[in-house]
Symmetry: C2
Subunit: 296 residues, 2 copies
């Protein structure tokens, strides 16, 4: 069984929150690592509802500096202070330094942990996090202000086939080394990992933030999970957002495995109607809901 | 019947909000005027629950710049922008200019209304709003950072006794003038307002914000409504907050008419237990709850 990856939609709404759809915020949990993508108003209450302590958040990724995507950061920092956080909090965003500095001027703060802002490029795709088992990338998108999407990429890894290990007489304590190096010498003979293990392709989650449809983002989401801005059902002229129709069509073209439409305008009241519309456009689409949990 | 004054507790919690007790925010409605006292995270959702459009807010009064008292301002401004507000929004606070300026640097704002910051004194009591029928005062309190409480004061006014008006033969169209001037000359004879009307004392609401007990605030709340910081049930050493015990004792001493304890720590889970404790200390005390409405 692969490590479960949990995605929790804390907020599925857009600029004006409603009681049903709060501001954007998405939690991704990978083993012990908790990552927050956007942090709109009430994000910390979404965490409470999901039974997750905000102290567990390791990194926050902000797509752009519109209040619905960051307004929850300030009260989240206050809560972390009150809970006695010591561990550094990393905040990734376009112009993170500038805006985090402004946040730090906005209150009589007195917290005992470091906040590290990390600027991400709005020019080109960038690898911004390198962990042992996964990486995170930012990718420029097209909105009314500088904005990026984010890609969570689990690394490909090898699943050992015990019968083959046994057959080739590889000692138990050498398996980890074999996984790390890709090959190992046993009794003068080189054994490749591919001889005794099956390659497991890493899972990928793509999150768009606010954007007009950007083909490259869909390309990245091929055979993966895509969480995408779908503020409107049909395209709306002059708004730097995407629609159900556009997103579903591109997701279909690029063979997205699972599409979650989010950042839903408050004009749409009937959730199940929206789900029906999404599925009519693309059978693998669904519509985000506050508190929705997806396990990969 | 006097004009009803509505008080709605949008948030009754303290620095760490819970699903039951959100950050501090109190709405006071007087005729068509909607005033917000503190604006913690989710204040706009509290307004939605109460069925009040945020567009109606005329003035915001921030007691101090700790995130639990202002974090809702940023997303509120975003919402007002999205709803197309044109009317100026006044924000009163200690150091309002400095902090509002910082808020304006914190996002890619593009709103079409003016935000006017108004500094209030942390040295002395100050009359900050003068309306036809009411006034608002700020009063310094004692917290860990510069902080004030606010006093809503309805003006005293005269209730005409129709039988006396008739008896003295005062024409209908002179009554308004009599109310405004306090006296009027009819057929060469001066008539004082007190001869034909009953004086109605203006109602008063005192809100403390975060503070240690400040005797002057209780003095102001004599025979009035007092909404007071009561983070803890018993006093807690070294914390710049008040307790049920201290607040109730002083409220009793100064003959407060109705005491609402608020800014309740998340450590207390059982609301009805808290109410019992409050009433044991002072029979006219109660404990705030999110969504609580008080009509005077």
């Amino acid at each position: 069984m692969p490590v479960p990856i949990e995605i929790i939609i804390l907020g599925s709404g857009s600029a004006i929150p409603t009681l049903e759809r709060k501001h954007p915020a998405i939690l991704i949990k990978y083993e012990g690592d908790y990552m927050l993508f956007d942090c709109g108003e009430c994000a910390q209450l979404g965490l409470q509802k999901a039974g997750i302590s905000p102290m567990k958040i390791k990194r926050v990724f902000i797509t752009h500096w519109h209040a619905d995507h960051f307004a929850g950061l300030i009260p989240l920092i206050e809560t972390l202070h009150m809970l006695g956080r010591k561990k550094m909090l990393e905040i990734y965003a376009p112009e993170a330094e500038r805006f985090v500095e402004t946040i730090l001027e906005l209150s009589y703060w007195s917290f005992g942990f470091k906040i590290k802002p990390i600027d991400v490029s709005i020019e080109e795709e960038q690898k911004i996090v390198k962990e042992k088992k996964y990486e995170i990338f930012s990718l420029p998108v097209v909105h009314s202000v500088p904005a990026v999407g984010y890609i969570f990429q689990e690394k490909d890894h090898w699943k050992i086939i015990p019968s083959k290990i046994k057959k080739l007489g590889i000692p138990e304590d050498k398996i980890q080394l074999l996984k790390e190096k890709g090959k190992i010498k046993i009794d003068g003979k080189i054994i490749e990992i591919s001889e005794v293990a099956r390659k497991i392709e890493g899972r990928r989650i793509v999150y768009s933030g606010d954007t007009l449809p950007v083909e490259k983002l869909f390309e990245k989401a091929s055979n993966s999970v895509l969480i995408h801005d779908a503020t409107f059902v049909e395209p709306v002229e002059g708004r730097a957002h995407s629609s159900f129709k556009e997103v579903c069509e591109l997701a279909k073209k690029y063979k997205v495995k699972k599409l979650i439409l989010t950042h839903i305008s408050k004009r749409y009241k009937n959730h199940s109607e929206l789900v029906k519309k999404a599925k009519k456009y693309f059978s693998k689409a669904t519509v985000a809901k506050d508190g929705m949990k997806i396990i990969l």
